[in-house]
Amino acid sequence: MNTAGNAVLFPQANLIYLDNAATSWPKPPEVTQAMVHFMEQVGANPGRSAHRLSVEAARIVYAAREAVAELFNVPDPLHVVFGANGTEALNLALRGLLRPGDHVITSSMEHNSVMRPLRALERQGVEVTVVRCSPEGFLDPADVKAAVRPNTLMIALNHASNVVGTLLPVAEVGRIARAQGLLLLVDAAQTAGAYPLDMAADEIDLLAFTGHKSLYGSMGTGGLVVGERVDVSRLEPLKRGGTGSRSEQEEQPDFLPDMCESGTLNAVGLAGLEAGIRWVLRQGVEAIRAHEMKLTQQLIEGLQEIPDVTLYGGLDTARQTATVSLNIAGMEPSEVGLRLDEEYSILCRVGLHCAPAAHKTIGTFPVGTVRFGLGAFSTALEVDAAVEAIRQLAREAR
């Protein structure tokens, strides 16, 4: 892929932004332009009134649904439910479908966006099994199969760890879920846009995504794609209210997406999201992945040569995203992060990354790690600079 012009995109060219696993930055210029266009030229409430600006706003939101549907191979764009972020989408899927007495299987590599709703549901009588992953973060599908009970309703898995980038075998688990009549919920926060995802081929029933990472949209956008096998009449919305449809009724609509989208949507954000996904589709997910994996390989190889640096995860670019976690012997992650920022202008994320279970699995709880998250706009020069900075800090820590 072509990342020329990167310097133009950066308002501060001396910064090296390696925190894309939290939020991608910079964004393609088209994303900002689409959002400015919405604010300056459209602005009206999508789907509430029927005047031209309201219809245009609704059309922009619908175009975002189409973009999501195209990216994930979803036949009906109306099965794309928008919300504030991936966390809201995961809450909708988990709290909306699981009832006391149901059993759900998840992995020990999950983010708290899955773990916290599940622990709350557990207190209400939902049975939760956490399948243990290897110290590299790998999940054995046979362990998932062995955990299935007569009352199992759902398997909820992240597609890739936000701590070490390790990919979980969603397609294999999808086949197990289909064979057993279970729903598969995939948390694609770390992979949507960065790794090929096909709801049909991967046999995914519920796909939660966020707009501000590898889809290159703004914060405040995300959603849940609801597959054909999900019994929508069983899905309990997180909130109820105005939808612009069925206004004569005081009962919540019972159809997608309106039933789950009460309140005015973040249409300006969705304008940006649509532009971000179109940008991803133009580059091609495979091309973005190839670029990121080349740099990830360079980063892993560079860091592996440094004495007193421990790397975590599988360290195999065929089985991970562009996220690499490390520690320097004798220096706390928080100090490494601060010094990278202040002395090297390298921005990353340190600590537990909202994923205590994952850190327990890889053996870094409660200290955490230093995490580099590369993105489509990362460059080989930036990776070299990061490796060199870690080399110098490791030398000083000795």
Partner: protein, 75 residues
């Protein structure tokens, strides 16, 4: 508008109307999203206005894609 030439297709939400508009566009059938006429139904939403001559082809295209139709009215 000259109302005698048109029909409106009522769907369940603006999202459905937009999907219908896109499907009709793909089928080569002209349409326009307009407010639901007051005498048809008192809702705040939009509906899909088409030429009456296109009504049969339009309904076929929408039904083939599984779009739920609430009603069709001549206006």
């Amino acid at each position: 508008m000259t109302s005698s030439q048109h029909a409106v297709i009522l769907v369940y939400s603006t999202s459905h109307a937009l999907r219908a508009e896109r499907l009709l566009q793909q089928a080569g059938i002209g349409s326009k999203l307009i407010p639901v006429p007051r005498h048809v139904r008192s809702d705040c939403g939009v509906c899909v206005r088409i030429e009456r001559a296109d009504q049969e082809a339009a309904l076929q295209a929408l039904e083939a894609a599984g779009v739920e139709i609430e009603g069709v009215h001549r206006i």
